[in-house]
């Protein structure tokens, strides 16, 4: 409880990167420990529950595939909120957050694509189909990579922040397309079976491991994200220290 109230109190003055670093140092071990806990429980559940009578053992891919697909979209949402933070509230950490989230999002999307491919081969008989859901996730993956390339191409973070924030917001249109693609277009990929207004249609046998894994993945995302933000702040400090060093080097040597 103490942790949470501390976090709320500090959220308002998180703009100060030093405060953020202190907070990150405090919460990271907890997040990491919780992640490990949930993953242990989730994996144990995943491998002890029974396989599907139609799909056999391959159904267990779902416990990785579905959470990483959720995360690929949530990560982009986090980036879009950060982009808003950059453009509207000019929060100095928003850009750090967006920048740090891109590689993580790309990794989760890649994981979703690969596990989906591995699942699709025995189920559909092919590694890949150009179905609406798969294609839009692939486009999301390309967008992550494009944003990463853009971030790398501009070495001055202050300038690149706004440009990439605009691009992130424009790219956000893809998220609803991914979410509803399976309902708008009737394609090979099955429709959602957990997040439904009329309650999950999935068998409780599969639901529990899936939920535990999803929580584990979400915790993993936040652990990685906070750690990546911390690294990004440190990276910027190192850069500015080095520029400072370059400026000082000339002065002392030229003093006669």
């Amino acid at each position: 409880m103490n942790e949470i109230s501390l976090a709320i109190r500090k959220f308002s003055d998180l703009a100060n990167p030093t405060r953020f670093l202190a907070l990150a140092d405090r919460v990271l071990p907890w997040f990491a420990a919780l992640t490990v806990l949930f993953f242990a429980a989730g994996l144990w559940l995943s491998f002890t529950t029974e396989g599907d009578y139609q799909q056999g053992e391959t159904v267990r891919i779902m416990y990785v595939h579905v959470p990483s697909a959720w995360l690929s979209m949530m990560c982009y949402t986090v980036m879009a909120i950060s982009a808003l933070g950059t453009l509207v509230w000019r929060h100095p950490l928003a850009d750090v957050s967006a920048r740090a989230a891109a590689p993580i999002g790309a990794s989760f999307t890649f994981l979703a694509l690969v596990t989906g491919s591995l699942w699709g081969k025995p189920m559909w008989g092919t590694w890949w189909v150009w179905d609406a859901r798969l294609t839009s996730v692939f486009v999301l993956f390309l967008m992550y990579l494009g944003l990463m390339a853009l971030n790398r191409a501009m070495d001055d973070p202050a300038r690149s922040a706004r440009v990439s924030a605009v691009l992130v917001l424009v790219g956000f249109v893809n998220i609803p397309i991914i979410k509803f693609s399976v309902e708008w277009w009737n394609t090979l990929h099955q429709p959602a079976s957990v997040m439904r207004l009329d309650g999950p249609t999935i068998d409780p046998e599969f639901l529990w491991p899936l939920i535990v894994m999803a929580v584990g993945f979400t915790l993993l995302f936040f652990t990685l994200h906070i750690a990546a933000m911390r690294n990004e702040i440190w990276r910027r400090r190192v850069t500015s220290l080095r520029r400072q060093a370059a400026r000082n080097a000339g002065r002392e040597s030229l003093a006669p």
Binding site: S117, T126, W127, W128, V129, W130, D131, T135, F138, V139, L142, L145, G146, M148, A149, R152, A153, D155
Partner: protein
């Protein structure tokens, strides 16, 4: 010369380098094709090799104009022209480094895109092999275009226009070798041998011509 190779590799991997952009462009080009021709898996499997080859051709043209332009802008090219090492060798090493940074990742990425195209294992293997043998030729041809256009302010597009017609034989034999590999009666080796011959031929002609063009571009 080894120093030059590693310096160019470092430059293309560092921030602002073109190594990652090429692969990204390749993936984007290949993935828009199914939107154009429709998601028919049989059709895609049939034209997959050709699409991969065209995508790789366009992607390897992408960074070529910077091959000498960056060196010229900061004056490094002058020092390379003065040096007693044969300029041909310098150009060759620069091409090799450029290919290792941009061409090789395309070859590595091609199997994954092959899966998207619903190609079977044999076709993917053949495409990868022909790309490995054929993309260096595109770099060597491109070096000539880059050297000719080095002094022009907007050389980028011009390089592509100059180089594409010359690269057509590479495309023809690369794609026909893949089709020879997957369709039974046609033998794989003859077109593949011709492809390798083209690469070796341009590995000699390209640097010589590029070096000559660079010498005359100095002002």
């Amino acid at each position: 010369m080894i120093a030059l190779f590693f310096r160019d590799l470092k430059l293309s991997v560092r921030a602002g380098g073109g190594a990652m952009i090429g692969v990204l462009f390749f993936m984007t080009v290949v993935s828009v094709i199914p939107f154009g021709v429709g998601p028919d898996l049989n059709l895609l499997a049939r034209i997959g090799a050709a699409i991969l080859w065209i995508g790789a051709l366009l992607a390897s043209l992408l960074g070529l104009d910077r091959l000498f332009q960056g060196e010229r802008e900061d004056g490094s090219l002058d020092l390379m022209l003065m040096h007693e090492t044969p300029l041909v060798l310098t150009v060759f090493v620069k091409c090799a480094a450029h290919w290792a940074a941009t061409g090789l990742p395309l070859v590595v990425a091609s199997p994954f895109l092959g899966l998207f195209m619903n190609m079977d294992e044999l076709a993917i293997g053949a495409t990868m092999l022909t790309l490995l043998a054929g993309t260096p030729a595109i770099t060597f041809i491109g070096a000539v275009g880059a050297a000719v256009a080095v002094a022009l302010p907007r050389g980028g597009l011009l390089v592509s226009i100059l180089v594409l017609p010359l690269a057509i034989p590479v495309l023809i034999f690369g794609v026909s070798a893949v089709y020879a590999a997957i369709e039974d009666p046609a033998p794989f080796l003859p077109p593949f041998m011709i492809l390798m011959a083209i690469t070796l031929f341009f590995a000699v002609i390209g640097p010589v011509a590029a070096a000559a063009a660079l010498r005359h571009s100095a002002d």
